[in-house]
């Protein structure tokens, strides 16, 4: 046996070590800094982003896992996620709104264990969040919070004119006529944006209508209930609103009530929160009430947001550790929720009467007793086809056609034909 020289020892041990690393495709644990990255949206409640960074620093301090948080505008999320998935590289964790887990089902880690722990602690996940994060029975993302739509109105104008807070969409027509006469019209967008769909959905559902059936295949838009909904929009457009709603984007209704023009809008509480933060004179005059109902009940649009972990991530375990750290400890979760000033609320059953709702009497309307929350396309399960119907703005365009001269029947027939083409494609 040849003598072991220093040179021979170093050569053989280095070679064996390198071979091991290459075979395992991972660096040795000792001396390796664990690190995870999280791609998160630019929160509409910016203070929540600050709080997230703060909690992230504490997480690093407590666990030794380095956390890198990047932010991206909501409008750019789809493109960025598509590129990460196509290149199988990028962040470990991603913030996913609404239907995203369905679009990326095959690319996301099963997070059932984390959700089970959270449900044990906080109660069941709210239906709208469960419908979007649990894909074909598997939790592809962990629900973290939701922003729901609510009726936002100028309480001072209502008091001045002796108007009653509307309980149904028909009631809204009655008060809307008065508001328009006062120079403060109702502001419901009828344009190619998501707020338009967020209002059209609840109105349609409350009249008993739907776009696509529960089977996710059969188009059901051509119905007497849709005709009722369109007739309601027509009279609202004529008597309660201004034509400008045809050009609005997602921020326009907020601005309309903040700047003192609109008397009633349908939006998450952001319009009020921003008015309060910017100390606008309208902040004191705005209040909220639960969403109006119709013959088929009281329905509302919900925007649940989740955290998913890409399958290509090599750091799934530390990523899960961060999700547990952020959402699994009650005091941290509370701190996180409180930072959004009621814009983003907990998505777990036992946390519905959250302390954040008691921080301002104007949040009372957010308790929304008796309101059923759904995501776009309900009751059809989320899918790329249902999503294409949403993203193609077929519903707002159907309404826009009807309020600008097309007959109700023709507008519905047009929408039905477009939806059927999407389903067949």
């Amino acid at each position: 046996m040849p003598a072991i020289t220093r040179r021979r020892f170093l050569t053989s041990t280095t070679g064996a070590g390198l071979a091991g690393i290459l075979a395992m495709r991972t660096a040795p644990a000792r001396g390796q800094q664990r690190e995870v990255s999280y791609l998160c949206w630019n929160n509409f409640a910016p203070l929540m982003d600050k709080k997230l960074a703060e909690i992230g620093q504490r997480f690093t301090k407590d666990t030794g896992i380095k956390l890198k948080i990047d932010h991206i505008a909501a409008a750019q999320q789809a493109a960025k996620y598509a590129s990460e998935v196509q290149s199988q590289a990028g962040h470990d964790m991603v913030e996913m709104r609404m239907h995203f887990p369905w679009l990326y089902e095959g690319q996301l880690v099963d997070l059932g264990d984390v959700v089970a722990e959270l449900e044990k602690k906080y109660g069941k996940v709210l239906s709208s969040a469960a419908e979007t994060a649990r894909v074909h029975g598997t939790w592809r993302a962990v629900p973290q919070y939701h922003a729901m739509f609510v009726a936002t109105y100028r309480e001072d104008l209502f008091k001045k004119a002796g108007l009653k807070v509307p309980d149904t969409w028909e009631d809204l027509y009655t008060v809307g006529k008065e508001l328009k006469k006062m120079g403060n019209p109702v502001g419901i967008p009828i344009s190619q944006n998501y707020d338009s769909i967020s209002t059209a959905g609840p109105v349609l559902w409350s009249y008993g209508g739907l776009e696509v059936d529960k089977d996710g295949k059969t188009v059901r838009i051509n119905s007497p209930q849709t005709a009722q909904m369109i007739e309601w929009y027509k009279k609202m457009f004529r008597d309660c609103m201004e034509p400008e709603v045809l050009s609005w984007d997602d921020a326009s209704n907020n601005q309309a009530i903040q700047q003192g023009k609109a008397g009633w809008i349908h939006n998450p509480v952001s319009a009020y929160i921003v008015a309060k933060q910017m100390k606008l004179p309208t902040a004191d005059t705005i209040n909220h009430h639960r969403t109006p109902g119709g013959p088929a009940g009281r329905h509302e649009t919900d925007v649940p947001r989740h955290i998913g972990i890409w399958k290509f991530s090599k750091n799934a375990e530390p990523a899960k550790e961060f999700i547990r750290y952020l959402l699994g400890k009650r005091e941290t979760y509370d701190e996180f929720i409180m930072s959004a000033d009621a814009f983003n609320l907990p998505v777990y059953d036992k946390l519905q009467d959250h302390p954040v709702l008691k921080t301002d009497p104007k949040y009372a309307g957010l308790r929304a007793e008796g309101v059923q929350y759904h995501c776009y396309g309900w009751p059809a399960p989320p899918s790329d086809k249902v999503q294409l119907i949403t993203n193609s703005f077929i519903m707002p365009n159907m309404i826009a056609k009807a309020v600008t001269g097309t007959s109700t029947k023709d507008a519905i027939t047009w929408a039905e034909s477009e939806m059927k083409k999407v389903m067949a494609g």
Partner: protein, 278 residues
Amino acid sequence: MSPALLLLLLLVAYPFCMALYFSVSNAFIGRPSHFIGIRNFLNLWQSDAFRQTFQNAFVFTGAAVGAKLVLGISLAMLLDQQLWFKRLIRGAVLLPWVIPTALSTLGWWWMFNSLYSVVNWTGLTLGLMDPPGPNWLGQKYYAMTAVVVVNIWRGLPFFVITILAGLVAIPRELYEAAEADGAGAFARFWHVTLPLLKPVLAIVVLFSTIFTFSDFNIVFVLTHGGPINSTHLFATLARQVGLETGRIGEGAAISLYLSPVLMLVVFAQLRFVRKQAY
């Protein structure tokens, strides 16, 4: 392999070939895809939104390039004169082209916004409009006018500066000779300026046609393709279908739909330019 060729392959050929492949496949983000021939291209024609987009693209490009050409020649001829602060004015003309499009379009969005429109405020104050003024981004003809106007504003400097370079290169003796022969201003323009500018104009129109057909920022920021898809262009519709919904096969087909036509335009114009040169 030379570095230039490598760069060309990596940055131009590879993405283009990928887009070509996507357009003939049923590619969906993150899922295995299969070759489906030209089915995407055929199916698209069934969509009302796509047919509308197809029409919009020609209206938008025709109106914008036509206006930029006429205004570009006029402004270039004006700047070719002996003016005070000539350099400063020539520099200032370039500004719309220098500012990032998304940013400047946001300024225009503000001007057309129903709540804050300075355009309507001015029109109403001067008594030129009836209250509440045009619904710029909410009515289809106004919305198309708005996106065309912003495209003209943005693209005009490219026309002006390039045409100006062409004008400067025309020998002054030709004008003097024409004047000696009794040619008036219009005759000089028609028989001297325009023929000698033709190669420059062909190149400018060629580039501008391609850029305008593929415009994205202006429509995305101003109207998101609305109202009722009346301002959608191929790029904005491709984004909506390909990225927001995940159907990248269909999205790629939308963005490549006009490629054969544009290639023919490029071929014809370059041929024309070559003829003019020899």
